[in-house]
């Protein structure tokens, strides 16, 4: 069973629906018992970093995530579920989980495209992810695939070794990160059509080894 972490983080049902469509049994839960019983964990997120960290800690899910990570359970973070893995987020001046070194920053106000036009914030819509190295969770994704993003803050990883995919929106940022049994993406695979479903399907069959 795959546990979809329920920490009051907005629309979790779209992840559940995508897994159900792919035929993987899953459960939206905040129960420590059920999460410990899960063979893998999806850590989704829609909303603000401050509220997310507060809810995680109130539910005791922050320490549980650390525990399951140490236990080698494959974990997939999505959107805010990626952002709170880092040390710190500028959103609500939030101390985060500190699992990956780096911080999450607001897109600069003066962000421009190559023609000098002001870019919109949030970064909303389809953008390319350039995968910079092989990883089992991103296998069989056709080159040039685009993914659905919606966010105003972006991760700035200080350990470049954990970045496996990059995206350009005025500035380049790590839109897919991985370390050991952890992977996380800034985009929404559950809303990114067939390439997104491919990633979810890969994750659901991944043994947690990064090779």
């Amino acid at each position: 069973m795959i546990a979809i972490l329920d920490y009051r983080a907005g629309n979790l049902t779209s992840v559940e629906r995508a897994l159900r469509f792919l035929g993987f049994p899953c459960e939206i839960t905040d129960s420590a018992e059920r999460i410990r019983a899960a063979e893998r964990i999806i850590f989704p997120g829609v909303g603000a970093a401050g509220k997310s960290m507060q809810d995680l800690s109130e539910l005791g899910l922050d320490s549980l995530l650390h525990e399951r990570l140490e236990a080698g359970v494959p974990i997939l973070g999505i959107c805010v579920g990626l952002q709170v893995l880092f040390d710190y987020s500028e959103e609500n001046d939030t101390k985060c989980l500190g699992i990956l070194p780096g911080k999450v920053r607001l897109f600069p106000a003066e962000l421009r495209d190559e023609d000098g036009n002001l870019l919109k914030i949030p970064h909303m819509g389809w953008n390319e992810v350039i995968f910079t190295r092989e990883h089992p969770v991103f296998r069989k994704v056709p080159p040039g695939s685009e993914f659905y993003f919606v966010h105003s803050y972006y991760p700035e990883a200080s350990d470049l070794a954990c970045v496996v995919g990059r995206t350009d929106y005025g500035i380049a940022f790590g839109s897919a990160v991985a370390r050991r049994n952890l992977v996380a993406v800034q985009f929404h695979p559950e809303k990114s059509g067939p390439p997104g479903l491919q990633i979810l399907s890969n994750f659901c069959q991944w043994d947690g080894l990064d090779s």
Partner: protein, 259 residues
């Protein structure tokens, strides 16, 4: 860099799709779930379902459509039409829509934008605007006036002012429909789209008037829209989304081409 989005819009009445020409003479062309799935496979970047069901007791039919769509298409889709309360928003989002669009109700009660954004996040809240060109005046300096009730009621509110106010209240996106261009197939209202899109920081979807791929080129480049809504030109099979995207890519507009 970000791709421009191509978004087919399906008008739905009592659970069936229609396409209104100037909001009248709707004709029945099919099942919204089948059409949604078809456009998903064709490479639509997003889909809009617009509920034009007249009576509120038939609304549950629409929620059932939303649930069935959410089980079969895995791109964002939004639902508009008849959204008046936070409860309406919650129903549609829980049924599986990514976004809800508020139009007339937001003009009459702007608080719904603020409350919706606070409850569900700005990224869920699309402001639908129906706009009509008028002679510029002290009251309507931009020369574009807000109208509601499907184009029937002019509100004496400046469209540019309203777009900026809605952004301030927490709208995450604007779907900008020109009443003058809607249904004509003569092209989008470029000056209106350019005006609004360059004066707000949130994405703007252009709507109304698309008849051919060159109209999308115009509104996505000259009009500076972030996305373009299309209806008749694909519903009746005149063009496919793939053809439109190939044309745009050839003209230097970045669109999503792999799926």
């Amino acid at each position: 860099m970000l791709s421009k989005r191509i978004i087919p819009c399906l008008d739905v009445r009592d659970g069936r799709t229609t396409k209104g020409i100037k909001f009248r003479n709707n004709i029945d062309i099919g099942d919204p779930v089948d059409m949604g799935r078809y456009y998903y496979e064709e490479g639509a970047d997003e889909i809009v379902f617009y509920d034009i069901t007249a009576s509120s007791d038939r609304r549950p039919i629409m929620l059932e459509v939303v649930r069935r769509v959410a089980e079969t298409i895995f791109i964002p889709f939004s639902v508009g039409g008849g959204i008046r309360t936070l409860e309406d928003m919650r129903d549609v989002l829980l049924a599986g829509a990514e976004k809800v669009s508020v139009n007339s109700a937001a003009v009459l009660n702007p608080g719904i934008i603020q409350h919706g954004a606070k409850a569900f996040g700005s990224q869920c809240i699309v402001l639908g605007m129906d706009v009509k060109r008028v002679p510029p005046s002290a009251k309507i300096p931009s020369g574009y006036e807000m109208v509601i009730n499907g184009g029937r009621s002019p509100m004496g509110i400046d469209a540019l002012w309203w777009a900026q106010e809605a952004e301030r209240l927490g709208a995450g996106e604007i779907c900008l429909n020109s009443i003058d261009a809607d249904g004509t197939q003569n092209g989008y209202e470029l000056s209106l789209t350019h005006l609004i899109s360059t004066k707000v920081r949130i994405p703007v979807i252009a709507s109304g008037g698309a008849g051919g791929p060159h109209h999308l080129l115009d509104v996505l480049s000259e009009g500076r829209a972030d996305a373009a809504l299309i209806a008749s030109m694909v519903h009746y099979g005149t063009y496919t989304i793939r053809e439109i995207k190939e044309f745009l890519q050839g003209q230097g507009v970045r669109v999503r081409q792999t799926w």
